[in-house]
């Protein structure tokens, strides 16, 4: 057995701490590197929405495709570039500092998620299930959910 823990290194790491499984859905907290306060979610839909909101706020990774909507398209509002040569996420980092999120734990399960790309209107990246110290790749948000669901069912 090695003591080397699976780790991810990225500016947009998100730690999803699942505390409960109720009504066939997941409840928990989302931690990210730029705040001391976690964001609460009461279902997977809200989890996805919060995560996508963070990625949009950081503008990282950038979306390859424009958002579709049943409504008239609204222009995405990104943080104002103080310096156009600097990435939005670098500004966020400067303003808020960086915290470690890989030490957070949920009562049911913990997933450390890196979204590397936002292509084909979905996400691609890596996820670590902290409790089993396993790392997996996903090609879509749905595959990420499937991976999380498998670990949560094992419990």
């Amino acid at each position: 057995m090695s003591d080397n823990k699976q780790m991810l290194y990225a500016r947009n790491l998100i730690s999803v701490c699942v505390d409960g499984v109720e009504n066939g859905d997941y409840q928990g907290w989302i931690w990210h590197q730029y705040s001391d306060e976690p964001l609460e979610f009461e279902g997977f839909l809200q989890m996805l929405s919060i995560m996508e909101g963070l990625l949009d706020e950081w503008d990282f990774p950038q979306k390859a495709l424009a958002t579709r909507s049943f409504f008239k398209q609204e222009k995405p509002v990104y943080k104002k570039h103080v310096n156009p040569d600097e990435l939005v996420i670098d500004q966020v980092q400067k303003e808020n500092g960086v915290r470690n999120v890989q030490n957070k734990r949920g009562k049911r399960a913990t997933f450390i998620v890196q979204v590397s790309f936002r292509q084909r209107a979905t996400w691609q990246g890596h996820v670590i299930h902290a409790e089993s110290d396993e790392k997996k790749d996903y090609q879509s948000a749905m595959e990420l959910l499937r991976i999380m669901d498998e670990y949560l069912r094992e419990k």
Binding site: Y34, S35, E37, L39, L45, L48, S49, I50, E52, G53, L54, E57, K63, A64, L65, A66, T67, R68, S69, F70, F71, K72, Q73, E74, V92, N96, R120, A121, T122, W123, Y138, Q139, S140, A141, M142, E143
Partner: protein, 80 residues
Amino acid sequence: MAKMDNDQGQIPYHGRKKGSFIVKVDYCENETWQGRVTWAEENKSEHFRSALELIKLIDGAMHGKLSLHQDDDKENAGTA
């Protein structure tokens, strides 16, 4: 960091309408779904390129403004 404002619409959860959606999955490529979703009440259709986009379309419809933009029945631009 300040509170997140994730949704484009500003209507809170309790202000949600009900909605009916007809979903047709045409392809299952790249570990996700591609197809078309029709919002029955409004008779509007959109293509989706992933399950995430499908969820966001439905969620957007549920959170969206109650008065629709009548002149915007055309499909939105697909690519950035």
